[in-house]
């Protein structure tokens, strides 16, 4: 009896002590998460209910900031539209672009390693340098793109100086910057089982059919991950507005995060800025939830549906 029981007992002891160690080891992470993420989040919610400017001690004003934001704020409507418009263009653009490039780079082409680096480089360049470079390309009077247009006898395009072109122009930069997505897609593509392709080829399926019926379904979890990350990143867009446009012309690139930055660190309306933060948070939450809700309809899991 004892000989049978002993290992069992030992295992359970081992388990409980392992669990304890796991909990203890989780404490730092939990503390970090609590004090650096959740506590500030609650703090932001609290501050958003005050009129804090940083100078005087804050007064509790209930939901006034939110009411003002949605009834009187001259920017918020344009800002939400600009943000969603930008995120839509950038997410779709960068997903299609990076998937396409990843497919190309996954083929046996010459100088493949070099090309992979070339497409990844924009992602690791310092943002300030990138935007200075693009500002020269986009400049309305003497910029490089306009130089090319005038060489072929076309009229000037104002790019980031024109309220209708600024968001597409900035999205193009963000598409160009999506080297990180390419890398993840590439990794995914290399995991698509080649037996499927070979089998389909035997059955006479062409390249396009194989792409639709094999590559895309096999890649769907990766596509979902990239879509989610790209959506969250692009909805929080701020750098192009800070570096290139100052939110203009008009409000056409006054993205929500830029608006919040302006309220908090230019106008020092910290309570108000915190309210805007929560609006951003809500928008992010809605889009993320939508994505997750629809995900099980189109994600193909190799291990079957084990929800």
């Amino acid at each position: 009896m004892e000989t049978i029981n002993k290992p069992l007992k030992r295992r359970s002891r081992y388990n409980s002590s392992e669990a304890r160690v796991a909990y203890i080891c989780l404490i730092p992470a939990f503390l970090g998460l609590f004090f650096l993420t959740y506590a500030p989040l609650v703090g932001v919610l609290g501050i958003s209910l005050t009129n804090w400017t940083g100078l005087k001690s804050p007064e509790f004003i209930g939901f006034d900031n939110y009411v003002q934001l949605f009834t009187k704020d001259p920017y918020i409507k344009d800002s939400i539209i600009a943000t969603i418009y930008f995120a839509f263009l950038s997410v779709i653009g960068s997903m299609v672009y990076s998937f396409f490039i990843a497919m190309l780079l996954n083929r046996k082409i010459p100088a493949r390693g070099f090309l992979r680096a070339v497409f990844y480089v924009p992602f690791v360049l310092p943002a300030a340098a990138i935007y200075v470079g693009w500002s020269w390309l986009y400049e309305a009077n003497f910029g490089f793109f306009n130089f090319l247009l005038s060489k072929v006898g076309l009229n000037k395009v104002l790019f980031i100086a024109d309220s209708s072109y600024v968001v597409p122009s900035l999205s193009l930069i963000s598409v160009w910057l999506s080297g990180n997505l390419i890398v993840i897609f590439l990794a995914g593509l290399q995991n698509v089982p080649s037996v499927y392709h070979e089998a389909a080829e035997v059955d006479g399926a062409g390249g396009w059919k194989r792409f639709i019926h094999i590559t895309l379904p096999s890649m769907s979890p990766i596509i979902f991950y990239n879509l989610l990350m790209s959506l969250i990143a692009n909805l929080q867009v701020v750098t192009p507005a800070l570096a290139l446009t100052n939110g203009g012309p008009g409000n056409s690139s006054r993205f929500l995060t830029y608006l919040m930055y302006d309220q908090a660190f230019v106008n020092y309306k910290l309570g108000y800025a915190c309210a805007t933060t929560f609006v951003i948070f809500a928008i992010l939450a809605v889009f993320t939830a939508l994505l997750f809700k629809t995900s099980n309809r189109w994600i193909y899991n190799e291990g079957g549906d084990d929800k």
Partner: protein, 470 residues
């Protein structure tokens, strides 16, 4: 074994907490207290002679640690010159300056005195954070120019640390080549707006050498523009004032930007690009007007602040640019704006008198000579403008355009009736207002809408912005 692991985990979490605390400490270190190194050298001889305890005050400034230590050296001179006050300089990087001060204000830990951004002075006054400094220059031989006093409810709450005015810069080579007379540096001969546009047309060339108005002129193929008027909102106020309008009433209480004269002035600036075809498009997205125009060598005339002489034109001059300075053209009244970041005494200080004494001493031009002689700052005290010997000392150096030209276009201009304080000297919420105005005008510069439509449609929002949306 278990206890060992527990200790390990405990240490880990302790390290994490310490890490957080450590971050807080580091942030404090960002503000560089620069006195420590120099204290010992300058004060050790002092302490023996003075038995009474010196009043210690701190002065905060924006700038790098190096700039801070330069200022501390100046402060050390002051510390050594008397035995009542000991000044310690704290430098904070420009990007985080106002944020840092805000934090300090919340904690009741502001320095005694320091610099403050233009548009923050009236706001801080209205929140009771600044002292009245009217008494600072009582009994002095020279006061700062009147237009350099920040006023809140009739009281002087700060003097500008430096003076700046708006000017017209021009490229002499381009004028010589086109055979056009230089813009006048004398106020009495200032160009009217129409004369300015006419000259700009002669200086605008398309790739076939044609000017706007010529047959076959190609507005899409312009290779050199005649003029660029800076359209950052705060500088636009100049033109509304010049046309008999303005952003606000003289006391800053009412919004006047909706008046016809103001709207017309703004439209005229936009029309330089849209109708006259003499200006490059600028939609106010960046604050580098002179670099984009005069220094890039693409525009013959451009308006901007006097600081450009020191911040960028000096270098361009060394590289062969021949530029001149002139007074601004005018619509109905001759107007230029002057401005300058403020030196304030915070109301949290326990030593307001000592703080004022230091500021008064420090604000004398000798102590900021590097900035003044390079052309970045202009002096604030009246005597530098009125006493020709002092003016010579200031302007007669190779960093400046020819003496007569600068003297008349800048020194005389700055003390003329044309020089008016920018609105943040007496109006609150100028940042709110200017940001909104800039956004409202975004489509005016490209001609998608008119100044009239844009401003009329948003006038209520602009008025609300002027009261801080309260």
């Amino acid at each position: 074994m278990n206890t060992g692991k527990k200790i390990g985990a405990g240490l880990l979490s302790a390290a994490l907490v310490l890490g957080v605390v450590g971050c807080g400490n580091n942030e404090d270190k960002e503000t560089n207290t620069t006195s420590k190194g120099t204290d010992t050298t300058t004060n050790s001889p002092d302490t023996s002679s003075s038995t009474t305890e010196k009043v210690k005050i701190t002065y905060s400034m924006w700038g790098s640690a190096e700039e801070g230590s330069v200022t501390q050296k100046v402060a050390d001179k002051f510390n050594a010159s008397q035995d009542k006050i000991e000044v310690e300089v704290v430098s904070i990087p420009w990007e985080s300056y106002m944020t840092k001060l805000n934090t300090q204000a919340t904690g009741g830990q502001l320095p005694d005195t320091g610099m403050l951004k233009e548009d923050g002075v009236i706001q801080w006054s209205s929140e009771g954070m600044l002292n009245d400094v009217s008494a600072m220059y009582e009994g002095s031989d020279s006061k700062p120019l009147d237009s350099l006093a920040y006023k809140y409810q009739g009281k002087t709450v700060a003097y500008a640390a430096a003076n700046e005015i708006l000017l017209l810069y021009y490229n002499k080579d381009m004028f010589d080549k086109a055979g056009v007379a230089y813009p006048p540096s004398v106020l009495d001969k200032a160009w009217t707006w129409d004369e300015f546009v006419a000259a700009a047309k002669k200086l605008t060339n398309d790739k076939n050498g044609k000017h706007p108005g010529d047959d076959g002129f190609d507005a899409n193929g312009i290779v050199q523009y005649g003029a660029s008027v800076e359209n950052l909102p705060w500088q636009l106020e100049t033109w509304t004032l010049s046309n008999g309008g303005g952003f606000y009433s003289a006391d800053g209480t009412d919004v006047r930007v909706g008046e016809d004269a103001s709207i017309e002035a703004i439209q005229k600036v936009a029309d330089l690009y849209l109708k006259d075809h003499v200006a490059p498009l600028s939609v106010g997205q960046t604050d580098d007007g002179i670099q984009r125009t005069i220094i890039a060598g693409t525009v013959a005339m451009a308006t901007n602040g006097a600081w450009n002489v020191g911040t960028s034109l000096n270098t361009a001059k060394d590289e062969g640019l021949k530029y001149g300075v002139a007074v601004l053209p005018y619509m109905k009244d001759k107007v230029t704006l002057n401005t300058g970041g403020a030196n304030v005494v915070f109301s949290q200080t326990k030593h307001p008198k000592e703080a004022m004494e230091w500021l008064k001493w420090y604000n004398s031009e000798e102590n900021n000579w590097g900035l003044i002689s390079s052309g970045i700052w202009m002096p604030t005290l009246q005597k530098w403008y009125t006493d020709e010997a002092l003016t010579h000392k200031w302007v007669d150096n190779p960093n400046f355009p020819p003496y007569e030209e600068y003297k008349s276009a800048v020194v005389d201009y700055a003390q003329s009736s044309a020089a008016r304080p920018a609105s943040w000297f007496f109006t609150n919420y100028t940042t709110d207002f200017n940001t909104l105005l800039g956004s409202v005008l975004g489509d005016v510069w490209t001609g998608k809408t008119t100044a009239k439509d844009a401003i009329t449609k948003n006038l209520d929002a602009l008025k609300a912005a002027h009261t801080g949306n309260k």
